[in-house]
């Protein structure tokens, strides 16, 4: 097994090495490490497609400067992500890095990037460690701090007067952040707190335990394929009728809803974005995404898109001169772009201050999707900002 694993890693490295584009002087070089194969690849593809859409809509440019986008697949493995990051920094000499989906990978890569004096803009992962003491002037999160959507869910479940809730998340940094965030605003009893393996497929054992504790609601954070497995098995165990499910948007994104069918209808989940938010940027984004890729965007795609818009605004502010690092950073911090989610600004730790909504899963014709039914938080930041000293 050991040899097998080593060989696998070697194979991945070889594969990745082949896909390096030619260098060109008059462009800004952006390195994107994301998950494009294996479990969780739907998330990485959405981030990539959202980001690329923004670049393509500007004729291959961001801030009037040609974009040299180098994309590499981490297959959700920390070792790969780190190796790719080193290669992009040392050999490709990228100016900006982005793309990572998973918090455990971000924790390994982001410090490497900032230490090398480059910028990292997170389109997804927002681990608490990088928001508090571990914050850095060159690290920006364009999505959320990990706790945020779960905090909103905690508040919402609390408002709905559920007093005995069973909570579940995968056993990795974002899973811990998720349940910590939920418990920060939920004031009732915890019927059970369970951490499952990242990438787990069968939840029968957990569901049997869950039923035995008789909770009056279930809150779960399981992104990607894990969410599909869980929601299906939850319904098949006959629990949907007795115990309502709540989750963050990650547990009910477009990809998951398409795969679980009618069983998710009526479920409430929290998000900073939805495709029915009415602002010019979002209407434009949703229509173009659908036209280009033939599917509706998920929140991951919206985050990838916003990341590109932020870069666009900052490059414009320095007239394409990436050597003006301080001005570039100031421009990023100012966040002068029209986010598809509506009002958006950065807090002192370079994490978003934004509104968080609650969405309901409903059937729109043949399509199962989300609609916003209320707002939980306005201008919501995160609790770790106080520990951040830049």
């Amino acid at each position: 097994m050991r040899i097998l694993k080593k060989t696998l890693l070697g194979a991945i490295a070889t594969m990745a090495a082949i896909t390096t584009p030619a260098l060109s002087a008059d462009s800004v070089k952006i390195g994107m490490i994301t998950t494009l194969s294996g479990g969780g690849s739907a998330l990485g593809r959405d981030i990539r497609d959202g980001f690329k859409l923004a670049v393509d809509m500007r004729g291959g440019m961001l801030g009037e400067k040609k974009v040299d986008l180098i994309i590499s697949d981490d297959a959700r493995k920390v070792g790969n992500a780190k190796q790719i990051a080193n290669r992009m920094l040392k050999r490709d000499k990228v100016d900006i890095m982005t793309g990572i989906v998973w918090s455990n990978l971000a924790l390994a890569v982001v410090p490497t990037v900032t230490k090398a004096g480059k910028f990292y803009l997170s389109p997804n992962a927002g681990p608490s460690k990088l928001a508090g003491k571990g914050c850095h002037k060159n690290y920006f999160n364009v999505a959320w701090q990990n706790d945020n959507l779960h905090e909103a869910a905690g508040q919402y479940v609390n408002d709905k007067a559920h007093r005995n809730v069973y909570i579940m998340a995968p056993n990795y940094p974002a899973g811990k952040d998720a349940l910590a965030g939920f418990k920060r605003f939920y004031k009732g009893k915890i019927a059970g707190e369970v951490y499952t393996k990242l990438g787990q497929v069968d939840y029968a054992a957990e569901l049997a335990n869950l039923r035995a504790t008789k909770p009056d609601a279930v809150y779960f954070f399981l992104p990607g394929g894990m969410g599909i497995n869980f929601v299906k098995q939850y319904a098949q165990a006959g629990l949907t009728k007795t115990t309502p499910l709540f989750g963050p948007a990650f547990s009910f994104d477009e990809g998951i809803l398409k795969a679980v069918g009618d069983t998710a209808i009526g479920v409430f989940n929290t998000s900073q974005w939805n495709k029915d938010i009415k602002n010019a940027a979002n209407v434009d984004f949703v229509a173009n995404f659908k036209k280009t890729y033939g599917r509706f965007p998920s929140l991951y795609a919206s985050q990838g898109f916003d990341t590109a818009l932020l870069i666009d605004s900052a490059i414009r502010a320095v007239d394409g001169d990436m050597s003006k690092q301080d001005d570039f950073r100031k421009a990023l911090k100012a966040a002068k772009f029209q986010s598809v989610r509506g009002p958006f600004k950065f807090g002192p730790n370079h994490h978003p201050i934004q509104d968080i909504y609650v969405r309901e899963v409903y059937k729109d014709g043949d399509n199962i999707t989300n609609r916003i039914v209320g707002k939980v938080f306005t201008n919501h930041g995160d609790v770790y900002a106080a520990d951040c000293k830049m």
Binding site: A42, N171, E193, V201, A205, I228, K232, A237, E254, A259
Partner: protein, 307 residues
């Protein structure tokens, strides 16, 4: 923890074990008889799941979906054997790993091109939807019982095939001494292609069955492949009986670990969140601990292959 909960978890363990057995049976034959490490076995599982999902969506019948998925998976398996893997039997294991890993990438990308990157939806066939209350207070999904039943039937059929038929005899003979078998005038190439197709068919069956309860998504095969390798190492490479016992053992250890370890640890640790964290970590290691223990006492697995 009640006795009923324990019973329910045991059923869950059997169901997981049976799924693993379907995967492991094919892999162990290929590994044991051809001495070939085939990482692409998970791809046959994925192909089975996707074809079943696609056809059952198009025809409205899950059974037609499964019926089409099986020959497709077998055909893909045999084609892969004839086109690519046949050349690798004499090569080093590392070459085989590299080549079959390449096949994983190929099949994942192909699936993405044909069906798109998003997971497919598969409904439980109406006959098997719903649940029965075998255990008081815990309605159990009928579909999961069907999987257990079907898996056990496949195990019986496999046993009959291996023990009672001429093909089975050749398979056993091929496992113990392939040169002798070919010296006796048996077309060993054809035999290998048949074994490979059979393995792919079983993997496709597991995938088709998995569709309604698991996510039919790209890369679904890799998750289960790791577990499958553990199963055949525990069970003994090349042994069908070992694959069955190994699969059930892994199913039991994994399920009990996830179900009861955190509660057990709560009695030891005072802080429940520490107990949950430690429990989650140990239970995800439990099957590897099982594998290590088995390898210490039975380095060749619980059951050695024939011969």
């Amino acid at each position: 923890m009640t006795f009923y909960l324990f019973l329910e978890q045991t059923l869950n363990a059997f169901q997981l074990g049976v799924m693993l057995f379907l995967m492991a049976a094919g892999l162990t034959l290929v590994f044991g008889i051809m001495n070939m490490i085939n990482l692409a076995h998970g791809s046959f599982y994925m192909i089975g799941a996707y074809v079943a999902a696609y056809v059952s969506d198009a025809t409205g019948s899950f059974f037609i979906g499964v019926a089409v998925a099986l020959p497709v998976a077998a055909a893909v398996g045999m084609a892969v054997e004839i086109i690519a893997l046949r050349r690798l039997y004499k090569r080093d294991h590392l070459d085989q790993v590299l080549a079959t890993f390449g096949l994983i990438l190929f099949f994942n990308e192909l699936t993405s091109i044909i069906w798109g990157p998003q997971a497919l939806f598969v409904a439980i066939p109406p006959v098997f939807s719903g649940s029965v209350e075998l255990i008081p207070g815990a309605p159990y999904p009928i579909y999961r019982l069907v999987i257990i039943g079907a898996g056990l039937i496949v195990a019986l059929l496999m046993r009959t095939l291996i023990v009672k038929t001429r093909t089975g005899m050749l398979i056993r003979a091929g496992a113990s001494n392939r040169e002798m078998v070919s010296a006796l005038g048996i077309d060993i190439d054809r035999l290998y292609t048949i074994i490979f197709g059979l393995g792919a068919l079983l993997a496709g069956l597991a995938g088709a069955f998995a569709g309604p309860i698991l996510a039919t998504e790209i890369g679904m095969g890799e998750n289960i492949l790791i577990l499958t390798f553990v199963v055949i190492i525990v069970g003994g490479i090349g042994s069908i009986r070992g694959a069955l016992i190994g699969a059930l053992l892994v199913g039991l250890v994994d399920t009990y670990g996830r179900a009861f370890l955190p509660q057990f640890l709560r009695m030891i640790f005072e802080d429940p969140s520490v107990a949950d964290g430690v429990g989650a970590s140990i239970s995800s290691m439990s099957i590897y601990i099982l594998m290590a223990v088995v390898l210490i006492f039975r380095p060749r697995g619980l059951f050695q292959a024939y011969g």
